[in-house]
Subunit: 448 residues, 2 copies
């Protein structure tokens, strides 16, 4: 089967190269502001995840490997080479699964791209503002490539955070390394053969690993291109390129109809205010609305019906969660938690013991989850049937934009809950006034 006839001819590569060349003066204030929110939120969840088991494992391996100390490892004493730091920091910052999400991209931009941008920037002595801008452009690139790959890519089993994310990580690292357009083309074509990541790792340490490999792959591809590495002409949209090999239904041209800097799709970025899979948040919000309207005793609940976009059923519908990590991917348990006012925002909530709670288990057993094609993947509908026969309905759509001040308040509250007020406010102060801050200053804030 020759599938090249359905592919675009270099459209994606040309557009990515155009994104990589956008100057800082062309970046719209709203997108930049959101990139700063993402930077803050990333630093917060990164520090909060520094003591997770997966974080300790990767630091142990990479500190034993050692190397030239140019880039920060979150929570680590030693600085390490940029490739190593990117791998570690992608994993550490995604270890809580509490970072930002983009629903068009279907992935987590920050954890794949900031580690690459920061590590390369520390190596090169760039400014924090350059890290922010490189992230923004890398995130935009990842979102667009994610849309080119399409939902079928994700549905087949690929983890877009890692796959599409690797292209954004490469672009961001490549900007820090000052790649020429020709070098950038080689870097992007090269990472096409290295980009990987599967959803079958969800609920295990393999999920944060996917973020780390995207970041590390980006640094590696950019560093090789900087040294004259020659790749194929178009490893993305070309014959047997990443898109042809990894998507059964790509959209090679549609996502480029309104390119940046005119439009930044990144503006639709969403932040997690619950410490579990983003696919469950609309359900938690919908149930929360009911709970705020009236008090319902668990014993009065006969059945809860949850309708969600069908693709989430392969993501976060674990029916018998055994660990705190699996709990984050379990609609039925999270529905029970939301009904019983368990704090879904606190990381400390998600323990193995939680999964054994008899009260939660009894209620979770009465939750039914179904897919509904008519919903978008940011929407959820719930129907609570009470013992007396009454039905209470509610719905929520995460796509509803929030004003900047609401976002800021939510993110700072989350940060204080995770890190305490002093540290949270210190990080906020740094990100709120990036002028004069260096990438190495940002790195120091992740180490102390």
């Amino acid at each position: 089967m020759d599938r090249t006839d359905v592919m675009g001819s270099g459209e994606s590569m040309n557009r990515l190269l155009a994104i990589a060349a956008i100057g800082p003066d062309s970046l719209p204030p709203r997108a930049r502001r959101l990139a700063e929110f993402s930077l803050f939120d990333w630093m917060v969840v990164a520090r909060a995840g520094a003591d997770q088991p997966v974080s300790a494992i990767i630091r142990d391996l990479l500190e034993k490997d050692g190397g030239t100390p140019v880039a920060t490892v979150i929570g680590g004493g030693k600085r390490l080479p940029a490739r190593a730091a990117a791998l570690a920091n992608g994993m550490i910052s995604h270890s809580l699964d509490y970072d930002d999400t983009h629903f068009a991209h279907i992935g987590h931009p920050s954890v794949a791209i900031f580690p690459a941008a920061l590590a390369a920037a520390e190596e090169e002595g760039c400014s924090a503002a350059e890290v922010r801008d490189a992230f923004l452009l890398g995130a935009e690139a990842s979102c667009r490539i994610g849309m080119v790959l399409g939902r079928v890519h994700y549905q087949r089993g690929f983890h877009q955070t890692a796959t599409a994310g690797a292209f954004g990580a490469t672009l961001a690292a490549g900007r820090m390394y000052g790649l020429t357009p020709v070098q950038m083309r080689h870097a992007l074509s090269l990472v096409a053969t290295r980009a990987s990541g599967l959803k079958s790792q969800f609920g295990t340490m393999g999920k944060p690993y996917n973020a780390g490999i995207a970041a590390s792959n980006g640094v590696e591809a950019a560093a090789l291109a900087k040294r004259g590495f020659v790749s194929c002409d178009d490893g993305i949209g070309g014959p047997q390129g990443f898109v042809e090999t990894h998507s059964d239904g790509p959209d090679p041209e549609g996502p480029w109809a309104d390119p940046p800097p005119q439009r930044f799709i990144f503006d639709d970025i969403k932040y997690k205010l619950h410490a579990c899979c983003h696919g469950t948040h609309a359900m938690i919000e919908a149930l929360g609305e009911v709970r705020r309207r009236r008090s319902i005793a668990p014993g009065d609940v006969k059945r809860i019906r949850v309708l969600t976009h069908p693709r989430w059923l392969r993501v976060c519908d674990i029916k018998a969660p055994r660990t705190g990590l699996e709990a984050k991917f379990s609609y039925i348990l999270l529905a029970a938690m939301a009904m019983q006012r368990v704090d879904t925002a606190a990381e400390a909530t998600y323990t193995d013991a939680l999964c054994q709670d008899p009260g939660l288990g009894a209620l979770a057993a009465r939750v039914e989850v179904s897919g509904k094609e008519a919903l978008s993947d940011t929407q959820c509908e719930v129907d609570i049937e009470l013992a007396g026969g009454e039905h209470i309905e509610s719905a929520y759509d995460l796509a509803t934009p929030l004003p900047e001040e609401v976002l800021e308040a939510g993110l700072r509250t989350k940060a204080r809950g995770l890190l305490g007020e002093a540290t949270a406010d210190k990080l906020w102060s740094a990100v709120a006034a990036l002028d004069g801050v260096s990438a190495r200053d940002l790195g120091a804030l992740l180490r102390d």
Copy 2:
């Protein structure tokens, strides 16, 4: 579309774990002997490729990164961490594209697996015999997984050397690290999310990169599993695992009908005696047979028809090669070279200038290449039509087994041509008597 129903349930994972547990006394002498041939041939092409541009680039990056000196880098002064050495050595040893091939696996076992096995073995202080055995088991695992993925995997655009190779590299490195069965399962499941490699890199530095990433991925996954990394239960044959996501027509059970140690599919390993893509060798041999039968002046050739297995048309049918590297993937130019007695075995033959040779170009323009489904991918048929109307036919099948003494002679001749007699014979002596040789001794032979 839910494709899990067509998948095997853990068959591949269970079989790989069984392979990983095979003891040295259960390895058949023939397979072991071939593994030694592969070790010798790998060391030869590795040393011969040490000065290639791609080799210099990767050494430059990794030596700058530095780190704990535990493993040899081919041709390098510094020893490096195992992950880095595996990356470099996979790339360097595949830089000439002159290493062994397995046609059932459709890939190059040595360049993905020896670098992983050797680097981990040097780190752990293992013996050279253990490296050989770990390679043999890793190669067998790669071949079997390659057959599970099937030819559709390769045809879609994946480079089996890298994808299937990563599983063998993991198994081999995991043996050197002494993983428990549970750790081995985690390592194999983990590398499933990291394994990658596309054929679109063929003819560029990206092809040797693919071998390097397979080797490095294997070391990384094994090293993480050793530290307690938790992956999913079955990242290979499980839901959304590597097989489901990367093959449209897998054969999850067929390849396991005759498992090792009863049968080693590795025994069908083939060695390159021409310094170009293995897909062209049957054609070169078929034309060589004609040439040995009679002398034909290039001007007398009206047309040469080449019939080959169709899959090779996406691999090595470059119609207008511009570089020495592209020449290695060009049926028409190689056909002209074979007819004009150009030395296709010598690496030095493949220059950019070769592509500009007017005599070769004129003859190459009269070569027609077509696919023929009825041929296996080790077979080729040629039909030389002379100006007078006469047709001369010839055919060759690379699958025809060669006696060990013929193989040894061919490999040693190739080695002397690449490295000179003294070095070639020194390497042969080491491999021919592995008892008492350590992995570090092997490493030293690749540095001096």
